[in-house]
């Protein structure tokens, strides 16, 4: 059983399991993700690696993962993607899909990613570290994400020697990841906290307990569509379970704040809220040209409206899918054409109208 080939056109028609909106608390929690940073002991870190080193690291890791795949250690089909061979639009597509980081897309030199067909797992090769293993789940589901990634890590570790020492743990290119090498993050949709202007306060209190808050696409990215990623800042001196628990414990508090803010808006200004949501829905269903930013902004209102029962003829998985499918690279893959920014805005509006005005098949299909 070999790696299957990547067919982006085909992949673009579907959506990853994490977008199905099926996990616990999925009205507010979009996804749970855990990633592990690992390096091989016998190669320099990426910043000092020669082209030969990178090619060799890639070859070794590809071979080991292929062997594990043949032994049935992974569930389902695996797809191996040589990222350095991809066109810019295809790399961007994988970023929009949350399967690779922006840094991995923009980098140079030999690099790859292995993903499973259900898009629950991705293994980046030659990112900032030799290996970045990721498991992505729908809703709040950190426990099973940790179980899955821990097992995966064990399988890989049985076949390579990781850079590790007793004092500092798993050794990483950047000292901010050393120790466990674990980043536990939860993506939350917090529109009511943004409207009620409480979001800054929430961030400050999270920073005080050493949790980081980032936008949709990780480090330095803007909080588009009121999506926020909360993750651990610390990786050394606490176990993976403790770090996971810390994030898992704070999420219900954030969910509670967001629900309270939504209740407040319903109680104090239901008409204003209903108006906002309905206008957003109206524009999304009728616009002839629309930017990505405006789409994200309006879809955020629509998503909250659906969750609050103010809009009844759209399903959450449809809205979740639209967030991803209206991104630039997805639009180009879906139409099979290279589009400039103004053509994309027209195509985006067409896509939204088709999926929100009853012309398209119901949720879950395309």
């Amino acid at each position: 059983m070999d790696f299957s080939n990547l067919n982006l056109q085909e992949l673009a028609q579907t959506s990853g399991e994490w977008l199905r909106g099926s996990g616990p608390e999925s009205d507010i929690v979009i996804s749970s993700r855990i990633r592990l940073a690992r390096n091989l002991a016998d190669f320099p870190f990426i910043s000092r690696a020669t082209d030969t080193d990178r090619a060799e690291i890639g070859k070794i890791l590809r071979g080991r993962i292929e062997t594990l795949h043949q032994q049935g250690k992974f569930t389902g089909q695996l797809i191996y993607v040589d990222v350095s061979e991809l066109e810019a639009v295809d790399r961007q597509f994988l970023v929009e899909r949350q399967l690779i980081s922006r840094e991995h897309a923009d980098a140079e030199g030999a690099r790859a990613v292995v993903i499973d067909q259900r898009e629950q797992m991705s293994v980046m090769i030659n990112e900032e570290d030799h290996l970045r293993i990721q498991v992505l789940k729908s809703g709040l589901d950190l426990g099973s994400a940790w179980e899955q990634i821990n097992e995966l890590d064990d399988h890989i570790e049985a076949r390579v020697t990781y850079a590790y020492n007793d004092r500092f743990g798993y050794l990483t290119a950047c000292p901010t990841n050393v120790g466990t090498g674990v980043r536990v993050s939860v993506m939350l949709h917090l529109p009511a906290l943004v409207i009620t202007q409480q979001i800054d306060k929430v961030f400050r209190s999270l920073q005080k307990i050493n949790l980081a808050v980032r936008g949709l696409y990780g480090e330095g990215s803007q909080a588009q569509g009121d999506f926020y990623q909360v993750s651990n800042q610390i990786t050394l001196g606490q176990s993976e379970e403790e770090l996971t628990k810390k994030v898992a414990d704070v999420v219900p508090v954030l969910i509670d704040y967001e629900r309270q803010a939504r209740d407040f808006l319903i109680r104090e200004s239901q008409e204003t809220l209903h108006d906002r949501v309905s206008r957003a829905y109206g524009i999304l269903r009728t616009a002839q040209t629309i930017s990505s930013e405006e789409t994200m902004h309006l879809l955020s209102s629509l998503r909250m409206g659906v969750n609050l029962g103010l809009i009844r003829d759209v399903a959450i998985p449809t809205v979740n899918k639209l967030f991803v499918h209206t991104q630039p690279a997805h639009l180009q893959k879906l139409t099979g054409m290279e589009l400039d920014s103004s053509d994309r805005n027209i195509e985006r509006a067409t896509y939204l109208r088709r999926h929100l005005s009853g012309e398209a098949p119901k949720a879950g299909q395309n």
């Binding site: 020492n165 500092f168 050394l236």
Partner: protein
């Protein structure tokens, strides 16, 4: 990339939260120091980045003389100097954690509040890791020997590398 406040090259890349929105700042060392020494109230709003933490650490830690001496030190395995690490915020190889251990500790305290790993331990090959790290040095030395046309030395090194690689591959079968 140039510093946003003067014309020197930007070596610190900082994400600052302004009204909850991340704002990217690219600064030279001097301007970064100024930026990162705000009043106590402002301090909590700065998202700690690698550059920021390094700058903070160095501002309180060393005198210029000590720093210059530290900067010159290099890792015998990969050759990275402490200065290069400070500029890039990235280490060169696993052995840096051994040879710069004492210098990294204050930095790790800044970032993590701890200096000791607690948590998962590799089941199979934690013991061989340090020995395998030596492969990085041997490969570098072989490359240098070839460049210097010292072929006898290069072939000795090649044999040594092969021996360790074969043991490694056997262990990972």
């Amino acid at each position: 990339m140039k510093c946003q406040k003067c014309d020197k090259p930007a070596t610190f890349h900082i994400t600052d939260l302004v009204d909850g929105k991340p704002n990217e700042l690219h600064l030279c060392e001097e301007c970064a120091h100024k930026f990162l020494a705000p009043s106590a109230d402002d301090a909590s709003q700065v998202v700690p980045s690698m550059g920021a933490l390094l700058a903070q650490h160095l501002a309180v830690g060393e005198t210029a003389e000590e720093l210059a001496r530290l900067d010159q030190r290099s890792c015998p395995v990969c050759g990275v100097t402490f200065l290069e690490f400070r500029k890039q915020g990235r280490l060169g190889c696993p052995h840096d954690y051994v040879c710069f251990a004492e210098d990294l500790e204050p930095l790790l305290v800044n970032i993590h509040g701890e200096t000791r790993h607690v948590g998962k331990v590799p089941k199979f090959c934690a013991r061989g890791a340090e020995e395998q790290t030596q492969l990085i040095r041997l490969r570098r030395e072989m490359k240098e020997a070839v460049a210097a046309e010292e072929y006898e030395q290069a072939s000795k090194l090649r044999d040594e590398i092969r021996k360790i690689e074969q043991t490694r591959d056997k262990a990972n079968k």
